[in-house]
Symmetry: C2
Subunit: 344 residues, 2 copies
């Protein structure tokens, strides 16, 4: 059933039917009601493509997920963020277009999206320090928002990020307060902006206390379970092994825990662990008693939170960009204790 058929059926013009359905005032309430009932009865919905062509708006937001050749993977963080975003989009009547594009195709992909006009705006995931995509998008004129930040890019843009630096500074301080001095940072890849910020926070806390910043305790890689496991194994053999681990992802923290327990040590007794917790729906930190002490910030809420759709609230392109820091809160769980042989 299309508009033509519906209006013929009602003995009205397409104009009137369209206006009735879109809430315009030029149509009497009685006919509006009649129209709406008929539309409902025949399950009429305006054709998206036609509507989009007529209005110039796609009513869709694109999400671009980078797919690196070296580390092909679908980060669970994306999944949760997208779940959050998806919910708010559907409330707002927007569709979500998912684009997985290989690193090498980034430029082509963005130009194409801008030209094809199948989205009204983009959300860029996994921001890098000096993210070429941001500069690219600024040239295309396509509105966009970044999940994360690009520290080295100074021109303004919409972003939405966790307070990574201060969260990790606090977490590190938390461990320092407990008496730890050998704290191992199990971070994400440093090309990722969040990882860089987290390291800065970690280092700032150590520096403020005059604790040595030991490169042998700082790791950066993709945040898999295995990576956490391997990192612990590698560091146990150090002359002066860490008494605490600070992980960037709960998945990695699971690996950290596995290695610790496998080596006969007890997490929370012999070794403390703090992790950043994105509050992933399938990876919840223990419900009642948190398994990990954590800096927590729900990435899912971030996806849904910033408005509908995120970053595109202001229709006015001249408006200043929106920036939204999400604050990570610290939840204290079991596995943090003073280091062994310490009198607190």
């Amino acid at each position: 059933m299309n508009l033509k058929q519906l209006s013929a059926h009602l003995g009205l013009s397409q104009t009137t039917v369209s206006r009735a359905l879109n809430g315009y005032p030029e149509v009497s309430e009685t006919t509006r009601k009649r129209v709406m009932e008929a539309a409902d009865k025949h399950n009429y919905r305006p054709n998206t493509r036609a509507k989009g062509l007529a209005t110039g708006r796609a009513m869709a937001i694109g999400h671009v997920i980078p797919l690196s050749a070296q580390h092909e993977m679908m980060n669970p963080v994306f999944a949760d963020f997208i779940a959050g975003a998806g919910e708010s989009y559907s409330e707002a009547g927007y569709d979500m277009l998912l684009s997985l594009v290989a690193d090498a195709d980034q430029e082509r992909a963005y130009r194409e999206m801008a030209a094809k006009r199948n989205v009204d705006g983009l959300v860029v995931h996994a921001a890098k320090m000096r993210d070429a995509r941001i500069l690219l998008l600024q040239n295309t004129g396509l509105p966009f928002a970044v999940h994360g930040r690009a520290s080295e890019i100074t021109t303004p843009y919409n972003w939405l990020d966790v307070n990574n630096k201060s969260a990790f500074e606090r977490a590190t301080n938390f461990l320092l307060d407990l008496g730890h001095r050998r704290i191992c940072l199990v971070n994400g890849q440093e090309s990722m902006d969040f990882a860089h910020r987290r390291r800065k926070g970690y280092e700032a806390a150590l520096a403020a206390r005059g604790v040595e910043i030991d490169p042998a305790l700082m790791f950066a890689d993709e945040m898999t379970e295995i990576y956490g496991y391997d990192t612990v194994q590698r560091t146990r053999s150090l002359a002066d092994p860490p008494t605490a681990y600070l992980a960037s992802s709960i998945i990695t923290a699971f690996g950290v825990r596995r290695a610790i327990e496998e080596s006969g040590l007890k997490m929370g007794r012999d070794i403390s662990v703090i992790t950043h917790d994105d509050d992933l729906s399938y990876m919840r930190n223990g419900a009642d008693v948190p398994v990990f002490t954590a800096t927590r910030s729900s990435v899912r809420e971030a996806g849904g939170g910033p408005g509908q759709p995120p970053g595109f609230q202001n229709q006015n392109p001249r408006a200043p960009p929106q920036t939204e820091p999400f604050l990570a809160e610290v939840t204290v769980g079991r596995p943090t204790r003073p280091p062994p042989h310490t009198v607190v």
Copy 2:
């Protein structure tokens, strides 16, 4: 730059330019080349909405992810499947539309999609035993493919699924061969079709050997880490506790392992664990030495494998539905051994 401008720029009609770009034979090779170069230079891409309106095809596939009210979550399995699908779509020039719809809105959502015509077809995730969505979609006439199966629905439809029953039958046999008799099934929710099939496989193997099927050893829930952990804790206190666990998800298996090791037992020595492994990119079973013995089937490959786009290869709506079973292979890792005190 749109078609009109481009053709004016070239001094050609829109017809000719359109045909040149779409590879029609009615245009000379020299002008085609000229057109393509100009299009390239001006970064021209046909407007998706206009093209869609003219051709009647959306060039997009929708993926519908259910969002239950009780258990709000974005399953990592979806994420990996979608990553796989996304890659093959972009090769085929299709967009991917993601729809997260709450259980209660399912009917409305599908009818709307069918009426709005913003997708050419749907992929339905998380198939249930008697999935109402399948019946619904069959009525709408919108092409669709199901990831999973709906055992109780007999009318034909496109699907793509793992050989869940035989995989779990084999896994159970594997444990039985090792001498295990008390095997705990840590399954997904039974409303999910895959969970049902897996239980059938488990039961079939036990029955074939005349081993008692003990309801106290059969669990079904959302496959979170915590669930695996809790299940082990619960079963350790049984009078005759299990000597082996058979998990439906590697995430749950991680929880199983945690509980085992936390209780001072050693996985692979005291207790055997087999898991189904969807080969999730962030949750790889150990790279060199598998951490778990597993029935493995990459859900990501499943997403990309079935064609481009999946399930919609045959343009002919009269063609028989496509069905594609993905075979899970068994990989033997450490944590399976004969039960303790057994002479093999």
